[in-house]
Symmetry: C2
Subunit: 302 residues, 2 copies
Amino acid sequence: MLRDQIAAEFKNLQDTICQALETEDGSGKFREDLWEHHSGGGGRTRLIQDGSVIEKGGVNFSAVEGPVHPRLRAQMNLPEHEAPLFFATGVSIVMHPKNPKVPIIHMNVRYFELDNGTCWFGGGIDLTPHYVVREDATYFHRQLKQVCDAHHPAFYEKFKNWADDYFFVQHRDETRGIGGIFFDYLKPDAPDHGLSKSALFNFVLATGQAFAPLYTHFMAAHKNEPHTPEEKNWQYLRRGRYVEFNLVWDRGTKFGLETGGRTESILMSLPPQANWAYDNRPEPGTPEAETLSLLKKGINWL
Amino acid sequence: MLRDQIAAEFKNLQDTICQALETEDGSGKFREDLWEHHSGGGGRTRLIQDGSVIEKGGVNFSAVEGPVHPRLRAQMNLPEHEAPLFFATGVSIVMHPKNPKVPIIHMNVRYFELDNGTCWFGGGIDLTPHYVVREDATYFHRQLKQVCDAHHPAFYEKFKNWADDYFFVQHRDETRGIGGIFFDYLKPDAPDHGLSKSALFNFVLATGQAFAPLYTHFMAAHKNEPHTPEEKNWQYLRRGRYVEFNLVWDRGTKFGLETGGRTESILMSLPPQANWAYDNRPEPGTPEAETLSLLKKGINWL
């Protein structure tokens, strides 16, 4: 697997996903922005706004390269005198629907390599319902388990727990949603999984390909459900938590903003509108309180 | 100056400010929450929502103590075997007005001491107009210069530049607003200013006391100005930037959230509603574009 092949497959993935989302949305169309990264390479940002189902969402492809940023070098414990070049490519998605009964979703697949020969894959999908529907959560996790199981028997459990830990809003003691899978630093032929580079790529691509059928399923299932102004307001408050996670805890967002990434592409993950109310606590027994009670690590949704 | 005297004066300051804001608002009333900090002490959070002028704002007093958090110990270069206790007290304010012609404001005064004898003051005031009005900016900076000059001839210039550097949204290459003053680590009898502890406290208290006359001046001046839905929308977008600064760059917010501070008090600074639009760029020649052109470091507003 050459890096250009991987980037080309990711680019195709972006196309397929945008087409599937436009079809299910019915009226929203993606606009495209091409951009260049300050150290080399660039990206193809696609944004959809004011669709029938999607209020605001982005499907980003990028393939950038350059000298490894000092901040990353420190994280990777690279010695001072080593100044390698990196190449990184990936697809990154967040969708904020209009209807509070449709969940927010996030997907990312990425590949990273250094010119010293090291390379790895990362990525994941996680779902953030404004109102948790148990059957949906089970469906979501079952599909993800199927994708994982087709590539490695240990992946689902490991990556499900990793998602619980990663998508966690520490200062609220809440998970961002009902989790999903998250993985990083998957290196070819590593002893804990033994998969070759192309086998790992197949898994990562399958993760990306799972996105469109999964999300269009939830769009179709809930887009016509009636909802009240109070439910819309709850959606705005939950989006506030989404903003808090992305800006305070998400390592990718922070890294991008601190190292001169393209701000508008990185912050495509933010909702069109978010609200904050002081010390808002839903009444016990309400669907809102039920949702909060399910935003915990370690729930087995299968 | 004993720490309890300082805390008592800060508490009075909170009272005075809340009264002045309620009077100028005309209908909004503060609600009060008392809380305890996990390691000792606590706070008195006051929140105003849905007033005539103020849409959402908070005036926080706190006086907390306990072992110094490892993260702060590292920042202060304290040796591993030293595990001092700290005491911190302060007043912290953010106001989000309804009318986009009224600016957002932030004020903070704080005192910090360790049981090894070290102590310092910090704080500042800065203004974030949704629409920059040059005369207002000049008025604001003149008043702050007066406060500074009454205590030390070098303070205004130094702390004005510090505010420009601190209240800076790096990933947008914009200042948060038109700045103000910012200072930290002001230690009694330090060679660069030579002020005693009580002289420093007088300066810090004067900074706090400048807040109410300044902000009620802007409230009164602009609260009845007409505004369009487009101007309100611009306000929501500017609030989005405020959220970005507070959650990505503000050291106090990050430190509080990462070390188990009271989340609802820390995040009182967030607006009731904020919006994000992809790659929003105002037309050249509009008041919005004019405002953006003035969100730069190093402008002399006097």
